[in-house]
Structures are given as structure tokens and as C-alpha cells.
């Protein structure tokens, strides 16, 4: 019986490996024949020789998200903002419990101690994802979502009251979120306003100079690439998304007090 089992295990491993080998040759490779649209994006995303067309960001996804189709992303951000507002509206008039977290609440003191160290590390990684959005894959939304892991982990590990007790209230998060959104709005019209003041033609959501409009956001500071508006959009989106998610988690995870007002 034992021999049959070991034989079966052996045969399964061999068959599995050969299946893997047979299939791995047919795995998906991106074609070298790109569609013309892809070629346009790849040729213009960072191309100093085409100063009227380029975004000056080597990360074409962020360039598409915040420059080529920036208006679309602005409305996506607005939709997310409205979703948070709707969540707030659902929980309106609910008084949240706010008590001192005790040693007993949450998980074990071992997990708490480890979380005290990993918390700042998660936030640093999140900030790096957000602030490198115009250079490497990532960006404000991804970084902000990563940063929002911190409040969730702290709520689970310490106590549902922990954030409120430390002063991370839904009002403050709403303020931060609104500041982020205002920043995004201001960034999108910054060159348009500059154009009005200087008497030069410029567009809403303009980033780098276009034909007939010589204005550009500063895309380069002492050799460090900022890619114009992309850096600012990522920064404000990071603020808006991280505080928005935190707000949602506070609403979802803090128990309500008995009395109502």
C-alpha cells in the first residue's frame, strides 16, 4: 500500500512537471507588433526631441492617467470622493464611541510591538510609491491605498478606538481629503490661470507646452525629474486617497455610542 502511495506521488510530480514544461513554452509574450496608439504613447511619453508632444515622464501609465486622459482621472477621483461623502451621510448623526484603548483590547502584545515598528515602515513605502509615480509603476492612488493599510492594521491590532483616541478623527480625515482634492483641482487649472495672468494662450489640464501654448509646468528641478503636473497630482491624490480610505475605515470599524444626538 505504502509503495502504491509513493509511486502515485512520484508519478504525479513527474506528470505535473512535464505539463508545466509543455505549457511554459506557450506562455504569453507581448507581441512586438504594437498598435499605432501604443506606439504614439511610447514615443511621446518621455521624448525631449518632441517638446510639443511629450509628457516628460518615463512612466507611460501615469502619463496616460494624469496627462493624456487627466480629465477622466479627475472625475474618477470625484466619484471616489462622492462615495466617501455618501458613506459619511449614511453614518450621519451617529456618535462614535471614544474610549481609552486598554491593554486587553486588540491582539497580543507581541503583535502590537511588531506593528509599532512596521507602521512607520508601511507609511514610508507608501510615500515612496506615491512620490515615484511619475518615474516607476505606482502613483498617488496606489501609494495612498498602501498608506491606508496602516490605520486598518492599527484598528485591528490595537483597538477600534485607537485611531480616534490618537486624534485621527473622521473630521480631520475629511479635511485632509478635501485639501487633497482642492490641490488636484488647483493643479489642473494652474497653467490656465498662469496663462490668464501672463496673457498667453493655455488650457485647463495643460502640463507641458503645446503648439500655440508655450507655458510648461516646471518638469525638472536641478536634474530631478518632476514631470510637471504629474508630481503634484500624485502628491495630492496620495493625500486624498489615504485620508479617504482612513475615513471609510473609521466609519466602518468604530462602534457607535448608545446615545444619539
Amino acid at each position: 500500500m505504502k509503495r502504491v502511495v509513493s509511486l502515485a506521488v512520484l508519478v504525479t510530480i513527474v506528470l505535473g512537471m512535464s505539463l508545466l514544461l509543455a505549457l511554459s513554452g506557450q506562455s504569453f509574450y507581448p507581441s512586438e507588433n504594437l498598435r499605432w496608439l501604443a506606439i504614439v504613447y511610447l514615443n511621446t511619453t518621455y521624448n525631449p526631441y518632441l517638446p510639443d508632444f511629450t509628457v516628460r515622464s518615463p512612466e507611460s501609465v501615469t502619463a496616460i492617467v494624469w496627462d493624456y486622459r487627466g480629465l477622466d482621472t479627475l472625475y474618477e477621483t470625484t466619484v471616489f470622493y462622492l462615495a466617501i461623502i455618501a458613506g459619511l451621510a449614511l453614518g450621519r448623526g451617529v456618535k462614535r464611541l471614544n474610549q481609552k484603548p486598554t491593554d486587553e483590547s486588540g491582539l497580543s502584545p507581541i503583535v502590537k510591538t511588531v506593528t509599532k515598528i512596521t507602521g512607520p515602515m508601511i507609511l514610508a513605502v507608501a510615500a515612496s510609491i506615491g512620490l515615484h509615480g511619475h518615474l516607476t509603476p505606482g502613483g498617488g492612488f496606489q501609494g495612498g491605498a498602501t498608506a491606508a493599510v496602516v490605520p486598518v492594521v492599527f484598528i485591528v491590532v490595537f483597538s477600534s478606538f485607537y485611531l480616534l483616541w490618537k486624534g485621527v478623527s473622521s473630521q480631520r480625515m475629511l479635511t485632509l481629503r478635501s485639501a487633497g482634492l482642492i490641490g488636484i483641482g488647483l493643479t489642473s487649472i494652474s497653467l490656465f490661470l498662469a496663462g490668464l495672468l501672463l496673457g498667453l494662450p493655455s488650457y485647463v489640464f495643460q502640463n507641458i507646452a503645446k503648439a500655440g501654448s508655450p507655458l510648461s509646468m516646471p518638469y525638472d528641478v536641478h536634474g530631478a525629474l518632476l514631470s510637471g503636473t504629474l508630481w503634484w497630482f500624485n502628491l495630492f491624490e496620495f493625500l486624498a486617497v489615504s485620508s479617504g480610505f482612513t475615513l471609510a475605515f473609521i466609519i466602518l470599524m468604530t462602534p457607535e455610542a448608545e446615545e444619539k444626538w
Partner: protein
Amino acid sequence: MRAARAIPVALLAFVTYIVFSGSTSGYDLVTGLLVSVVVGALFANVTIERPSKLLSPKRWYWALRYALRYFIVDETKCHIDVAKRILSPRMPVNPGIVVVPFDVESDYAMTAIANSITNTPGTVVVEVDKKNKVFYVHWIDVASIEPREAKKGISETFEYYSKKVFD
């Protein structure tokens, strides 16, 4: 002092930021500095209670010694032991949960011991009782259920070093 507690956290955040970004260009150093100041300020009252401990070279020396000893000697021993048990056809295991006392003050020292126990194969801390100062440890081969004997077999060296580093 909030600022003094913020500095070690900011340092941790800065190192994490640079390592994760994988670059030391001017842009990374400047943004890393700004980010670590913010993170340090946010976590100053959370992560560290007595930052002066970080300035003690003796603690760093013992931390290094502990790390080297733990990863080279203790880990290897336990891996060989568990590998033997897995490969042996008789499967010589005698699993059970034992009480292991610990005698350290700070949370960091306790966490270091608990994580050292869990990270070595064969033993896992399943519960901790801070009031009575005991771990409940699942042991692959229970040699003794007497707490002091169990401690000798599981965590005595870890405690010796952790105490010198964190307490």
C-alpha cells in the same frame, strides 16, 4: 521629549524609503528626508518609549552578537532537528503545548524572545500572558512539561541575549 522619540522612527522610515526606492539620487534623499520627518512626527508617541537606549553601543554589540548567533547556530540546529524528524520514516514527534516563563521587562524584549521562538522550526508561540509572564509554546517534541525545564530547552539563550539588548 517627543522630538527625541521621533528621531529613531524617522531614521527607520528614511532607511525603508531609500531601500524601497532603490536609489540614492538627490530626489530620493530630499523626498525621503521630508517623508521621514512626517512619519517620525506621526509615530513618535507610538513606536518608542525610551530613545536613549538606542545610543548605547553595548546594546548594539549584543544585538549584533545575538543576530549572528541566532541565524547561524540556533536556526541551523533547529532546522536540522526538524528535517530529521520529517525525513525519518518513524516520524518521531511528540507534540504538545507547554508553559514557558520569561523574565524580561520591556515589550520589545518579550517580542524578541517570542519571535525568536516562533521563527525557529519546531516551536511556535501560540499565546502570551503578560501578567503571569509566560508564553504558551507549541513544541514539536515535548521534552518536559515542567516550565523551567521547558524554558531550558526552548528560550533560555534567546532570553539571555534579548535582555541585554532591550531591557
